[in-house]
């Protein structure tokens, strides 16, 4: 195996321009694949974040401290619809605590605020985002409720966006991988063609197809691995460079930069994909010749 690997490396070095074109296209395709994987993973985290947020907030009148009976009544009205996942009561004191947690870095905003200045509220999560409006309408009619706010099907919209991103990514990456495969087929095919006499001689002295194919398959794999490592390196640099930009509005939703484990998994995935495309391209190039 080492012998075949050395031979493949030697052949790559002897035709640097072909190697550069093969590695470049491989890098581009795998970078695109990596980009869409990161995008899909990031948008999944955003989706999960929104899925775990309460979807409807009903605020009581500011001067009202609702009794537990009142809260239980509202809760039962809502849960009886069968559309509710959970209902949580936030007292004035709870609201103050949340407010202080959110503004802990700004003492000016927290010093002057007391529990009496904040309304008590109920937080509701629906089983299905489609029912948010119906639940909000019920909540608005409850006595003591002054204001109702709900996110209009944010999760559904986000889901559709993510689904579109995935489909677009899969199609784009698929097309690029196909182009890469044909380039590898072409580059290795040229090498195979140039070694026509050598291959005939190897067949003549009793070499098996596997023995003849091995260096060409390894050549494709080397293109794949080098392309994957380069694509991964570029992706990592882009992520590190843009972390400051993204961190501003993804704070609390996505941890940036991604953990080393995630990035190593991405490298593994890209190397696997590159190896598969390169190896298969190399194998097909030599198989076409041997079959002929």
């Amino acid at each position: 195996m080492i012998k075949h690997l050395n031979l493949a490396w030697q052949r790559i070095r002897r035709s640097p321009y072909q190697a550069i074109s093969a590695i470049s296209i491989m890098t581009m395709s795998l970078f695109l694949a990596g980009f869409f994987v990161i995008l899909a993973m990031g948008s999944n985290l955003v989706l999960k974040y929104f899925e775990t947020r309460p979807q409807i907030n009903g605020f009581f009148q500011i001067d009202l401290t609702p009794s537990s009976d009142q809260v239980n009544l509202i809760t039962s009205h809502l849960t009886n619809t069968g559309l509710v996942e959970s209902v949580r009561y936030i007292s004035k004191e709870d609201a103050l605590k949340i407010y202080k947690d959110l503004n802990q870095n700004d003492p000016l905003l927290t010093e002057a605020v007391t529990a009496n200045l904040l309304p008590a509220s109920v937080e509701i999560s629906a089983k299905n985002p489609r029912d948010l409006k119906q639940l909000a309408d019920i909540l608005k009619k409850e006595p003591g409720i002054e204001d109702v706010r709900f996110a209009e099907d944010v999760v559904g919209t986000l889901n559709r966006w993510i689904s579109s991103i995935r489909t677009t990514g899969a199609v784009l990456v698929g097309i690029h991988i196909f182009i890469t495969f044909t380039v590898i087929l072409l580059v290795v095919g040229i090498k195979v063609s140039g070694r026509r006499d050598e291959i005939s001689l190897l067949q003549l002295v009793g070499a098996t197809p596997a023995y003849i194919s091995a260096p060409f398959i390894f050549e494709g794999i080397i293109y794949g691995v080098l392309g994957a490592v380069l694509a991964w390196g570029i992706s990592y640099l882009v992520i590190l460079y843009s972390t400051g930009f993204w961190a501003g509005f993804l704070s609390g939703i996505v941890t940036l930069p991604p953990s080393p484990t995630s990035m190593i998994s991405l490298l593994g995935g890209l190397v696997g994909l590159g190896t598969l495309v390169g190896g298969f391209g190399g194998a097909m190039a030599v198989y076409r010749f041997l079959k002929g």
Partner: protein
């Protein structure tokens, strides 16, 4: 060793071999003679299964080679050594590497390859040239390298297709002497295609003459006609 029955091979409308039947026993040295286009090379190519006959059968060591599946071809070819007029050496490998090639493809351990290649190179008298590349050798030396490569795996059958065609008469004779030595020492069956009358007449061996794809003469201790 080699048995052909009613062998016919066509290339388009040209009949290269017509209903050819012959038998070459194990351990024999045979000259295959005839003018260009008489079918000598076609017969050799059928023996090492570079071609398939259109009809008839051809057996090597009681094995019907024309019906061999592709997966069995490597094992057939490991039992046959072939020498060509144009040597067919790999220009980017030195003499030693060229000679080692048939053993290397079989996955034989390096130590065994070393000893076998050493013996083969000694036999053809090229040990001092082992690190040289084909471009640094003369025609006779190139053919000796090809011969060493053909015998390094100790084949039971050695096919030589016009091995003296590119050589001067003296070097050509030396190559045939070498083939004779290999035949005697290793007990290898040798079939040598040639249209060099001088060489055929110098060695009193069985001569099978071909003409337009048919055997025109088969003499046990023949001369070139």
């Amino acid at each position: 060793m080699v048995t052909a029955k009613n062998l016919t091979k066509k290339f388009g409308s040209i009949l290269a071999l017509q209903d050819l039947t012959l038998e070459i026993p194990t351990g024999e040295f045979v000259f295959l003679t005839g003018p260009s286009g008489s079918g000598k090379t076609t017969l050799l190519r059928l023996i090492y299964r570079d071609l398939k006959p259109d009809s008839g059968t051809i057996q090597v060591d009681n094995q019907e080679v024309s019906k061999l599946p592709g997966s069995k071809l490597p094992s057939l070819r490991r039992t046959i050594g072939v020498v060509f007029q144009d040597f067919k050496l790999l220009s980017d490998r030195n003499v030693w590497e060229n000679v080692s090639l048939p053993l290397e493809v079989r996955g034989i351990p390096p130590a065994k390859i070393r000893s076998a290649a050493k013996v083969a190179l000694e036999l053809v008298g090229l040990t001092p040239r082992s690190s040289m590349f084909p471009s640094q050798l003369s025609g006779g030396e190139l053919q000796r390298v090809a011969l060493a490569r053909a015998i390094v795996g100790r084949p039971r059958l050695l096919l030589a297709d016009e091995p003296t065609g590119n050589l001067d008469p003296k070097t050509g004779k030396n190559i045939v002497k070498l083939l004779k030595d290999i035949h005697s020492e290793l007990k290898t069956t040798v079939i040598m295609a040639t249209h060099n009358a001088d060489i055929v007449n110098s060695f009193s061996q069985r001569v099978i003459s071909l003409d337009e794809g048919r055997i025109s003469k088969d003499s046990p201790k023949g001369k070139y006609d």
